[in-house]
Assembly symmetry: C2
Homo-oligomer: 229 residues x 2
Amino acid sequence: MKVSELSRRTGVQVSLIKYYLREGLLPPGRATASNQADYGEDHVHRLRFIRTLIGTRGLSTSATKEILDAITAEQDDLHQVFGIALGVRPTRRGADAGTQPADGTEPEPQPEPAGLADARTLIAEMGWEVSPGNPATHTLAEVLAALAGLGADIDWRGLMPYARLADSIADVDIRQMSGERDVLAQAERAVLVSILLEPALLALRRLAQEAKSSRHFAGTDRPAGTDSA
Amino acid sequence: MKVSELSRRTGVQVSLIKYYLREGLLPPGRATASNQADYGEDHVHRLRFIRTLIGTRGLSTSATKEILDAITAEQDDLHQVFGIALGVRPTRRGADAGTQPADGTEPEPQPEPAGLADARTLIAEMGWEVSPGNPATHTLAEVLAALAGLGADIDWRGLMPYARLADSIADVDIRQMSGERDVLAQAERAVLVSILLEPALLALRRLAQEAKSSRHFAGTDRPAGTDSA
């Protein structure tokens, strides 16, 4: 199909399609004339995938390109694709770069963020074996430090019930990822499940919170509209 | 204490403290001279709370002000504070604004986002009573529409295991919120638990995912560094 048809099928403007082609997010079509190319169903699918990561999930163009490149390059190793989607390691060759420079010199000492020791204690308590470069460890440390700074009596022990539920969520995630036979489709699905479901999970928690808040804190004062539902 | 001491205690620059004072996020100090004021422990606490919402959680100044105002104004009604933190309703008076205009005219018909019917089915299936204005319903609808658009065979039924786990998370949330005796402290804590823990929950899921991905997809190929931990 022509680029205009690709645009119609996906609802993505031609100028934006050309931008994705230039940036290498979308592979080139089959050239049919000096300034025309033919696009296939693969392009429709890839374009929808790009729009989901950028439009629905809010990823940057460069982060999206990194993930797409990883899916293509590392499709034989789902753990690698998964690691890139989680931000754990940028590429296969760069996997150890953060911990051990290739030239054998000592890595730059980074200041330890407050809360990191507590975050590591929680991770060890859960029995999770994770790479030292997983940025989620630092996110967890930041939140623990913020809670401590505010004098809230929620420390890593207070987060253990959440950690156990997160462990159950990851079990569901792994099950969701195991349906595809084609390795490329499976790699794509791993990215979808890990990244696209994040806003859905927070939304589900917020909905459950409102429902429970209504019951626990407001007595008979129901939120507007629910009794007529 | 003087503003310089407030700055030293909290690590927040004087210019930023003055900005928060101007914007009304921080209440004024007790005037001791025409251009000097005295600040107390309440200011230290409030400033740390502001920095947590803006710095750690990434909220905008105006969103933070809205939440702080709600905590002060609605501290007697935790369900209201909670609703504002969740983005359900901007103020007490504006609670029904989205569904029923005060002047009795019909509300503007909004286009129904794709996936909204499925999102509502899931919510009903969970028995969650939520207000029609809860933006999380739309977030959920967007993700469901994106999954359908990509041809992924994950529909609202596929999200039910996540919804059940989110329900358990909200149970933990409610327990976490019930410790404080002081109503103002309880309102603050509701905001902390609902908003500040969001990045922590996603981080916990990512850590659990890496640990499980390693076991399920990589066989003996462990991520770098874990065997020497």
